[in-house]
């Protein structure tokens, strides 16, 4: 297993991720890309704004990658999240894994994005036409 690639970036370019995950012992590469959706509960979103506690976020992302590598036989892992203002359709997070067989990378990607949403200190603000909402802040 190579060192996982863990990053917080201003602009997320997903084009190169396939190459980062490529590995001679891998027969499968799985990539999940999270993007900005136009509607939340039928309300039109203008844009999103992400902020982070970077030192801690990178640590937490690293823990997730390490857990995934412990659970499944993975050759490469990428966890990269964007911060700042994001427009509709823009990518905000990319999660990737490669493994000898497809099962491991599919299930690892699912685990990593689900856990990221629960533990990594990144906050998303939805900007609507006439209000802004910090997502998940209130019950």
């Amino acid at each position: 297993m190579k060192e996982p690639i863990i990053e917080i970036v201003d602009i997320l370019n997903v084009d190169g991720v396939y190459k980062e995950l490529s590995h001679p012992q891998s027969g499968g590469i799985c990539v999940f890309v999270g993007t900005v959706r136009e509607f939340t509960n039928n309300e039109e979103v203008v844009s999103l704004e992400f902020e982070t506690y970077k030192a801690m976020a990178v640590k937490e992302m690293r823990k997730i990658a390490d857990q995934a590598v412990e659970k499944w036989q993975l050759n490469k892992v990428v966890i990269r999240h964007a911060v700042g203002a994001k427009e509709i359709e823009e990518p905000v997070v990319v999660i990737g894994a490669s493994s000898a067989h497809r099962d491991a990378c599919f299930v690892a990607c699912r685990f990593m994005i689900d856990t990221l949403k629960e533990t990594v200190p990144i906050w998303k603000k939805e900007i609507f036409k006439n209000k802004t909402v910090w997502v998940s802040a209130h019950p």
Binding site: G34, Y53, M56, H81, K117, W123, W134
Partner: protein, 80 residues
């Protein structure tokens, strides 16, 4: 002692850092800090959850706080 604020916590307090260095009694534990915040900023109790990080790690209520720790208030996260 400084508290870093993020997301909605920053909006509730109205700034990104709370400086406690001049206050008479510093909170000795995460539990004490949470109590202090609840009194000072009642809006925190309306949140889905509220965690405290000490030196960039999630900290349980019984973790002791030291003057030079980096302490952060972590409202409900919503990355991805």
């Amino acid at each position: 002692m400084e508290l870093l604020l993020f997301g909605i916590a920053k909006d509730i307090v109205g700034k990104s850092i709370i400086d406690l260095s001049n206050s008479d009694t510093l909170p000795q534990s995460v539990a004490e800090l949470k109590k202090l915040l609840a009194i000072e900023y009642p809006d925190f109790s309306k949140l889905t959850s509220l965690a405290i990080a000490v030196n960039s790690e999630y900290a349980a209520d019984d973790v002791a706080l030291k003057k030079d720790d980096e302490i952060a208030i972590i409202p409900p996260v919503s990355g991805g």
